[in-house]
Symmetry: C2
Subunit: 272 residues, 2 copies
């Protein structure tokens, strides 16, 4: 059975999507056709949204599920009249908060960007550029500035994790690939030794690694199960010998890897 | 007045944070001390969470605001007994959904990763690597594979936007910096001409650009208002002359820039 799920927002739709995904995940047996409708900011776009939901209701023969973060009362009322099951984030949570805080909420669409947001933008941009400049051992002289340096074999998830930590937490995350040569004597490359307290390891199931590498270079030695197995054993031996904290990324999403690293290291985010 | 806000989750806390931030944004007058408590998965960690909330209640002399995405009933009940105002995402939304769908939700913590999730992980990883490999005009021969190529002056937001589109939407986003030399005759660099239909421009207020560049290279010609003004005029002239769609990134967050580009170009996400 397939249902249509709408994520409706007067902004980007990110909040509505994140919220909706998380809830829909709880219904494994049901398959959802997911549609994001961002920037619903006028009576006209709200009516279009309602009509799109109603069409899906007819096509599916069942109520679409609608996650909404619309703020303006007029638009929320219009949306409430659609033929879907509307999950209205703001009426569920904003009203009780107004009472507790004793202040009215802004009820503003497209919150204007404050100085705080501009600072956040800069912190984020700088952190993302740092992640890119210090990806894959490209540069090691900026390690002084790094909050964390991820180490692991090629395609174990270092790069997306660094980029995510930069984007989400504003952290300065570098990464350095360890290769076969490093596994012989289980010592760390020289450039890493002065920064040993910033090192954090990623490991991964060898079969999974092989599948990921196969997609990049099919049929290569690089992607072969034997090579992957050897590299994973090697890197785990280095983590053990050098007492480097690490996590197994095999069953985790990028969000989970990043959040666990922050929790485990006690790093302080630069972005809240 | 400052309140403590907690984001409580049995997972990474990302949903709880995103939801909570979005709601707290509606209360501009109130300042919130924000604390994320991820991986609350046992009776013990739930009790610790309750105790931390209660301590904040005493310290603040006011109820903390608690956003929770806890799924397990036992833990939700324990949390409900704390001295904070608990916003319980699951009881607000999961129960009505169960009724509408006619199925019980899983009520599972830490959803195991399905094949679909593994595919999503690979799409995301490949897209992030594509963004990095094709950042800042580093490589132009992969433009055939690109979904979109952002152009703009240095530090107008191209890199974080590409990375975000890769991470969030799985899109293959490259970027190419235009410089002074390109502004003379308002033509496009040769490597971009065959891919003109993939080009999308970013522009930015010159004062803002100058402030951002100043942070990178203080006192440089590169960061000077005069240079920034000239470059922004130049790039906007190219966008006009070459009929390239563009947006002004000055007042937008990375999320907003990315979402608007996807909406404007009609690109289909590879990740839902």
């Amino acid at each position: 059975m397939t249902r249509t799920a709408f994520f409706v927002s007067d902004g980007t739709g990110i909040t509505s999507e994140t919220l909706g995904h998380s809830i829909l995940t709880q219904f494994k047996g049901v398959s959802f056709r997911q549609i994001t409708l961002p920037f619903v900011v006028s009576n006209e776009t709200t009516l279009e949204t309602v009509s799109q939901i109603n069409q899906a209701a007819i096509a599916d023969g069942e109520k679409p599920i609608v996650f909404s973060t619309l703020v303006q009362e007029e638009h929320r009322d219009m949306l409430a009249g659609c033929n879907g099951l509307v999950m209205d984030l703001f009426s569920a949570f904003v009203a009780p908060l107004e009472e507790e805080l004793g202040v009215r909420s802004n009820h503003n669409v497209n919150q204007s960007h404050s100085i705080q947001d501009q600072n956040a933008y800069r912190i984020r941009m700088n952190a993302v550029h740092f992640a890119l400049d210090n990806d894959d051992g490209a540069r090691t002289r900026a390690y002084e500035e790094a909050d964390i340096i991820l180490i692991g074999v090629s395609r174990s998830g270092k790069t997306p994790t660094c980029v995510y930590m930069a984007m989400q937490f504003g952290l300065y995350a570098a990464n350095y690939p360890l290769t076969e040569d490093d596994f012989d004597d289980l010592t760390l490359p020289k450039c890493l030794i002065p920064h040993k307290d910033k090192l954090f390891g990623l490991t991964i199931n060898p079969d999974r690694l092989s599948a990921i590498r196969e997609e990049r270079k099919a049929g290569s030695k690089y992607a072969s199960p034997r090579q992957c197995d050897m590299e994973v054993r090697g890197i785990e031996a280095i983590f053990a010998k050098q007492s480097i904290p690490f996590i197994d990324a095999t069953e985790l999403s990028i969000e989970e890897i990043s959040t666990r690293i922050v929790a485990q290291t006690g790093l302080t985010r630069r972005l809240k």
